[in-house]
Amino acid sequence: MGESLHTVTTLPTTRRTGCPFDPPAELIDARRHGPISRFTHVGGKPGWLITGYDLVRSVLADPRFSSRKELLNVGDFEVPPPPPGEFLLMDEPQHGRYRKPLVGRFTVRRMRLLTERIEQITADCLDAMEKAGPPVDLVSAFAKPIPTMVICELLGVPYEDRGSFQEQIDTFMGGEVSDEELMAAYTATQEYLAKLVAAKRANPTDDVLSELTDSDLTDEELRGISLILLAAGFDTTANMLSLGTFALLQNPAQLAALRADPALTDGAVEELLRYLSVAKTFMRTALEDVEVGGRTIEAGTTVVLSYNTANRDPERFTDPHVLDIRRQSAGHLAFSHGIHQCLGQQLARVEMRVAFRALVDRFPTLRLAVPAEEVDLRPETADIYGVKSLPVTWDKEE
């Protein structure tokens, strides 16, 4: 093919000022040039960047592309395999060995049964928020405590341990600390989980982790699984809640529509998932030469899949950069696609439906307490995009 191939040298690290919800301009631009671009990994290895919806989806569904961490080919260094249980970075059959025992515990039905409990948790947070403000920081009052409580209860992390635990996860997911600090937080979390697994083995309680001790999984594997569940179950939803609220506040007509019509809640959640795509990129490595979008991806090459750009692909979503809670956004890739599609997505949906609904109902005059440009955003180096704090205020009813 003679046409020129767009090249992206490094993954862009800043979003355009004033557009905190849009992917970095270079990525949108890359998509404009075509769904696949040449790309150089941070470590200097040549790779590919895929930004088009159809191609991202097809790579995710293609078993010729591997998720194995140790196959990542991004620089001149060896990447160690993931610890046992961290199944996100594994292929079949290892991935299935860890995922399968969990699947029945995260079904649509089971998660809906949690609705009432999540409503209770949300109401408690909103009560506290009402007492404390206005103004308050929505991240610490609402967006973090709700998913933390839910996933900790589900997994069986004792109440008094939640605070320190949340801090550790913040540290290693926030994208802002040195490698040493990151390792320290990771190790501390591992040690904590090792103790927790031992405790559940000794005294099983009514939670997922205790149930899992009843399988053939080793302690080390259980620790890895718990880490994945906690990190994925907490950080992503927390950032969806805070960034989602920010997005709604910046789109007053959408917010008003959502407030006026509870029937729009489910659609609003899907659209926020699409529009914000907080889990921005994932990588896959070709196991053999594979043709993708007319290009040959050679065996051993690692490709970067840009979910946020794919979810803004104009060939898939009309006016993709517009937040429209009435649109049909089903099929978005916010939870990925293929065998790794998010295990906890039905839980995340219930949490978001309950939490956004309760928030807009409770505070009809909710608004930012600072100019939008002053909202402290997470850097692109964080795996999950979001806001660090979101000062909000409202009119107090006398």
Partner: protein
């Protein structure tokens, strides 16, 4: 007359629940293993659109749909 027919492959299913979410009248998940349960292999007209959508959003390609040709006449 041929009708719309659905098939599910429980070997491929990863239990993501997109089908049960999208077309709850047609699909459910096994309460034990979380894998897909097909409630109506030949969904009534009212649920066909949802069933088709479920095929489209299933992450693992575990659902297939045989649809009659639009028209022979």
């Amino acid at each position: 007359m041929r009708t719309t027919r659905l098939r599910v492959d429980r070997e491929r299913c990863i239990g993501a629940g997109m089908c049960a979410l999208t077309a709850p009248e047609v699909f459910d998940q096994d309460p034990d293993d979380g894998l897909v349960l097909l409630l109506h292999a030949e969904p009534p007209t009212a649920h066909r659109a949802a069933a088709r959508m479920a095929v489209g959003v299933c992450p693992s390609g575990a659902i297939t749909l045989d649809e009659p040709e639009p028209t022979d006449s």
